[in-house]
Every structure is written in C-alpha cells, then in structure tokens.
C-alpha cells in the first residue's frame, strides 16, 4: 500500500504557497499556464540551465525536500519533459547546418533531466527513474513507487508527475486535433460540443512510503488500460469498483472530463454505473489537459480528503456524502490510455 505524507503542486491555480481554489484562473488562448514561484532554493547555476518542466518539477519538490531527513530516491513521470530543450537544440542543428553547436540544451533535453537534477541538488544516490509513457507516465511512476515501498520496507520516495506546454508540443497536439479550434472561456469549458480540449501544465510531487500513521491519503489501488472502446472501459471500471469494494455512498468520482466531445462517452458511461449517492466532480478546468494531469488529480484528492472543502465549480453532480472517505479518479488520455485510481483517507 502506498501512503502519501506530503504533497506539493505548481499548477495554473493557486496551489503552491497558499492554496485557494475558490478563485479560478481562466485559460488565455486556450492555454492554462502555471504560475511559477520564485525559486529561492535552486542554486542559480542550476536554475539558469533548466527548462520549464525541470524548473517546476524541482521547484515543486523543494518544500518536500525540507521536510524529510532520509529519502531513498526519485520516481518521476513525464511525457514531454525536455521537449522545449529538444526543439531549441534542433533549431541550432538547422540554423548552423550541423556545425559547431552548444551542448547545453541537448543535455537538458533528455526526459530524465528532472530526476537527474533532483539527485544532483540533494546528493541523493538512491533509486532514480523516469517513466515517459505519455498519458500513463505518472501512473507507471505510481506503480513503481508502490512496488518500491513494498520491496523495501521503511523507505521513502519523491513521486512526481510533470509536464509543460511549450509552443512546440502545443502546436503538434493542436495540428493533431487535441486542442480546440474555437477560443474557450473557463465557464463554458465542459459544455462545448466540439473536439479538443485546452492545454495545461503542472508539477505535482508527493512524499510516499509504506507508513500508515499520519498519512494524508493512501493510493489503495491503481489500474491502467489501453483501449479505444468505451464499453470495454466501462466494464473494466465496474470490475475495478467491485474488486476494491468501493463504498460509493461515501465516495467522490473525480472525472478527467476535458471538454472533448470524443472523450465524453467514456466518462458518461462510467458515471452510469455509479448510482445516485456519489458526488461527481471535475478538475481539468483548473489544470488543463496534459499527459500527467492525473498527478494534479491525485494532489487534489489529498486536499479534498483532508482540509479542502470541495469548491462548487468542481461539482458536476451533488451526492449524499457530507465527508468523503474515498475518491475514485478516472482519467482518459487521447482516447487511448486510461487509468483508475482509488484514493482513501
């Protein structure tokens, strides 16, 4: 069992130093950019080389690093980490016709740069890995972390999901039809009947171990799937709920619904089997769509199971539970990659 003891998040909303989700930042040009803090804890000589994904990943980790005396490694999920630097280096290749090139952006272009910089910053020689499986990059990091604490009792890890919007990955995904053609304001996000979503980014970092006492939350179960068939996902979701014996009357369904009409049938067919007691809530209007958005959902779950009163703007349907004891997250990335996570207090 994976227990979360600390959670930190840099997102487009006020989630970092003070948490305020009542006042929502709306997208600009269909993009929700993170509000970057000042990075006092990152040495200037490291900061100057970091691309945005590395910066927000390391930045979100800093508060947790202060709170732990012994850490056994870093387990990071990121789909696009390093994309911005990759294109910067690519531009040099073209501009100088493969001539004399500066290597800085090449070194930072590898997806493992965040985990690498974290180990450099802390001098930590523990486990160090980067999962990059696009919409299931973070989920594989969660599975990895759960195995690590099972195999090595008493160890703790920083687990993170990090992705940024660069001009380039926005453009590639836009041309591929994953972002909306028409401009969307925050209010109408879920009611647009068109293809595509809005772009988002963020870094959510968790301190995890196998220690139940004083934990913020536990990841009770996680399942990942690849499919383009809503019925298959619905049946798998039903099976997951049965297998985990989820008490739907004290549960929140946190849906990854993202305003894309093509993905909506997956979410609504999962809602159909949840009964009338459950609260249904949504989060992508806060963080936008990005491959590791499920890490934002997990951070949000940690808040909702502890101190945060659910903001009204998140609620799609009110349920009967006054105080939720579990949260069921379903996320669908690009109609192909799906995950269920069951989070309990």
């Amino acid at each position: 069992m994976l227990y979360i003891h600390e959670a930190s998040c840099i997102s487009p909303q006020q989630t970092f130093s003070t948490i305020d989700l009542e006042h929502v930042t709306d997208p600009v040009d269909n993009k929700l950019h993170v509000a970057e803090p000042a990075y006092g804890g990152i040495p200037k000589n490291m900061l100057r080389r970091m691309g945005k994904a590395v910066r927000i990943g390391v930045g979100a980790s800093l508060p947790l690093l202060d709170k732990i005396s012994s850490l056994n490694g870093f387990i990071i999920g990121t789909a696009n980490g390093g994309m911005e630097e990759s294109i910067l280096f690519l531009k040099q290749i073209i501009a100088y016709d493969e001539g004399v090139l500066t290597p800085g952006s090449f070194v930072q272009s590898t997806a493992n740069a965040t985990a690498a910089q974290l180990s450099l910053l802390t001098g930590n020689r523990g486990y160090n890995i980067t999962h990059v499986h696009r919409g299931l990059a973070f989920e594989n990091a969660v599975i990895d972390a759960a195995m690590m604490v099972n195999e090595n009792k008493g160890t703790s890890y920083l687990l993170g999901g990090i992705d940024d919007i660069s001009n380039y990955n926005y453009k590639l995904d836009y041309m591929d039809g994953w972002y909306k053609e028409e401009e969307i304001d925050g209010q109408s996000f879920y009611s647009t009947n068109s293809a595509g979503s809005i772009a988002g980014e963020g870094a959510a970092i968790f301190l995890v171990n196998d220690h139940a006492q004083n934990a913020l939350a536990k990841v009770k179960a996680i399942k990942t799937l690849h499919s383009a068939d809503p019925d298959l996902i619905k049946r798998a979701f039903e099976g997951f709920i049965k297998e985990q014996q989820v008490d739907l009357s004290s549960c929140i369904f946190l849906s990854g619904e993202n305003g894309d009409s093509r993905l909506l049938p997956f979410y609504t067919s999962c809602e159909e089997i949840l009964g009338t007691d459950i609260t249904i809530a949504r989060f992508k209007h806060l963080c936008g769509e990005y491959p590791t958005a499920s890490a934002f959902a997990l951070w949000l779950s940690c808040q909702l199971l502890n101190r945060l009163q659910m903001p009204e703007h998140m609620i799609k349907k009110h349920g009967s539970a006054k105080q939720p004891s579990s949260i069921l997250i379903y996320n669908n990335h690009k109609n192909a990659q799906h995950s269920f996570m069951l989070i309990e207090s």
């Binding site: 290749i93 070194v107 740069a113 985990a115 041309m175």
Partner: protein, 395 residues
C-alpha cells in the same frame, strides 16, 4: 518472491538481424561500425556509426507494415520483439492476456525523424503523418496496438541505462504479482538529433571506438533493439530457459548532468547493489559486460569502480566495440550478449584494444574463449547519473 527466468530473446543490431547472426559475429569479433552512406546527416561520411544495413522500406516489407507514421525506432523494436515472442513460444492468448506486461525503453523514440519534427514544430503542416510519432511513448503505444496488448505497458527513459531499467521494472512487476510474464527491452535508431548532441559534447570518436584503451577517443553511436521474455519459476516447466535474472540495482551518481564522477561512485553502488540483490559475492561473477562506451570519462570511472568492487576484476569487455553505443537499446542488447555467454559457456572479446588505461591498468578480454560462466554482470550508465547493473545467472 518468485524467481524470474528468461524464456525468449530477440535482437537486431549492427552485427546481425537475428540472435544467431549476433552470436556468430561476437565469436568472430565482427565489428559493425563503419561509415554510412544513405543517412541524412553531414556527419554520415565523417564519423563511423554502428548502423543496421537494412533500410526502413525493407523492414516495413518484412514486417508487413505500411502505416507511414511508423518510425525506424518502432520498426527495429517490432523486429526484435517479434523474435523474442516467437522464441518464447508465447501463444496469442498469452500475449494479449491482461497479465502480460510490456516494458519498453527508448531515448530517441520518434525523434529519429529529426527534420520532420523541425518542420512540424515550426510550420503549419496539418497533413503530417508524424504528429503523434515524435515522443518516446509513440514506439510502445504502436507495439501495444500491433500485438493487442492488455497488461501493464510502460516506456522508460533514463538515457543510456533505459533498457536495463526496463528489464528491472519488468522483473519487479512479476515479483510483485502485477504481471505473470513481461516482455522487456529497448530500441533506438540513429538520428541527426543524437549525432549532433553527442558531437557537441565532443565525445564522438572519428575512428572506431576503443573501449578501455589508453588512447580511446570517444564513442560511436549505433542503433538496434533487443527484447527478453521474462517468466516466473512456476510457469516455465517444459520451456526453454536461457538464464535467470538474479540481480539488479538502480542508483544515481549525483555528480554531473553528463559525466560520471571520477571515482565511479554511481557505477560502484549499482554493481554493489546488484550483487546484494543476487546474494552473490564479487568473486562469483565470471564476466562483466561493461558499459565501456570508449569515452575518456566513462571507461576510467567504470574501471575505478570495478577495482573498488572486485579488487582484481573478473574478465570483462565492452561489446560497444562491435555495435556502437545503441543508447536506450544498449542495456537490452548487452543483456542478450550476457545471456549468450551463459548459454554457450563462452565469453566475447572487446575489439580494437591495444594498451590499458595507465591509471587503472585493466585489460579487457580480447579473444573469445570457452570458460565456465555461471554469473554475468551487465552495466549500463546514462546521462543524469542514471546507473543500473543487472546480473544474469545460469538456470
């Protein structure tokens, strides 16, 4: 926790398109590193590479793939994975079962389409077939569809140790009961992107690489793919068994974004941890397939770390002198070579070695020979300090 066995392997590299071809090349000391003519980089004629001679069209024909968005990295991955699956005689039901995991590694991924990515990232070319082909995950998302996989699927990128970590992750999934079997490995293809990147770091040799040689000038990039089928003890009765995965350890060198610490602290810890996890003593290791890239930094740091662990290291060599450095595929390719050593009770030489590094004095194996091989260690170290060592043992 269950013991994990290798029941199938598949490989394609600059020294052969099959396991048998690779084995023959290792025995004969064949070097697959040369100048490539048909590659779209100005360095193609200036620097030697470990290129696979089979082109994309021939690979597509052979594999029956016509989809234009499929990249060379993916083609190499399918070529090797097909062989591994067939070698392990996995049935269609086993392959598509929810308890079959597929863990792939790559660092180049779809970025072998360097020029296409530049165009698509800067121009409006909506008809481009490659829009979802550039990331690392695209390779294994395609394989998921190709094989109709339903278990845990993952893509790992820890630079040059990526596929060693994929093997480790797959073994752990089985041990933790999250999969019954796992297909694990990696693939990378030559790209203008990595060639220019390594060149900008001044670590590409303009001659054939000479791992562990005093006069080494750097590495040669290569390409390839390799996959292993891992199954647990309870399920392998009556099956062909190549070797057992007995040890693995992943650690960070925590020293520099692109160089190893002088004393090889990360390599030392990964080798030490792998021995601990295999419950073996240093003198149990019969052969080390070293990371041995041929750079000034790696070979000396790795040598120092080997001396710290083993005092007098066992026979060792780097097969990157045969294949070039295949980045995300290297850990898997070299695991296959380690397994060949165990199966055939023989060790394979490092090529082009003449004079030991003055500071460490270590000499790699320079001729193939028959010796008793019970345990082989395979090292993989990557940018960002990612170090992983694996141990394969005679089953």
């Amino acid at each position: 926790m269950s013991r994990i066995f290798v029941t199938g392997v598949g490989i394609i590299s600059a020294i052969g398109n099959s396991l048998n071809e690779n084995h023959a090349s290792l025995l004969n000391g064949k070097c697959g590193i040369s100048y490539v003519n048909n590659f779209p980089s100005k360095y193609a004629s200036e620097l030697p590479f470990g290129a696979i001679q089979t082109g994309n069209d021939a690979l597509k024909d052979k594999l029956g793939i016509s989809n234009p968005s499929v990249t060379r990295t993916t083609l190499l991955a399918i070529h090797a994975a097909n062989d591994a699956v067939e070698d392990a005689a996995l049935t269609k039901d086993e392959l598509t079962s929810a308890d079959t995991a597929f863990i792939g590694a790559t660092t180049v991924g779809g970025m072998c389409l360097t020029d296409e990515l530049y165009r698509d990232a800067n121009e409006n070319y909506k008809e481009s077939p490659y829009l979802s082909s550039y990331d690392c995950a695209s390779v294994f998302l395609y394989l998921q569809e190709y094989y109709h996989l339903n278990g845990i699927i993952d893509t790992i990128n820890t630079a040059c140790s990526s596929s060693a970590n994929a093997i480790m992750y797959g073994a752990r999934l089985i041990k933790n009961g999250l999969a019954k079997r796992a297909i694990v490995g990696g693939a990378d293809s030559l790209s203008k992107f990595t060639i220019n990147g390594f060149n900008a770091l001044h670590i590409l040799s303009d001659e054939v690489c000479t791992p562990f040689d005093e006069g080494r000038k750097g590495l040669n990039l290569g390409e390839g793919a390799a996959f292993l089928v891992l199954e647990k003890e309870e399920d392998v009765a009556g099956k062909k068994i190549y070797a057992e995965v007995t040890g693995y350890h992943n650690t960070s060198d925590a020293f520099h974004p692109s160089s190893l610490s002088d004393n090889g602290e990360g390599p030392f810890l990964s080798m030490q941890g792998a021995l601990r996890s295999a419950q073996l003593q240093p003198n149990d290791i019969d052969f080390i397939n070293a990371h041995g890239t041929g750079t000034e930094n790696n070979d000396e740091a790795e040598s120092r770390a080997m001396i710290r662990i083993f005092n007098t290291p066992p026979p060792f060599a780097s097969t990157k002198s045969n294949t070039g450095h295949t980045l995300g595929a290297a850990g898997a390719i070299e695991s296959v070579y380690s397994i060949l050593s165990i199966v055939n009770q023989e060790i394979y030489p490092g090529l082009h070695f003449t004079k030991p590094i003055q500071a460490t004095g270590l000499e790699p194996v320079v001729v193939a020979k028959q010796i008793p091989v019970n345990h082989v260690m395979s090292n993989s170290f990557g940018f960002g300090g990612n170090c992983t060592s694996l141990i394969f043992s005679k089953a």
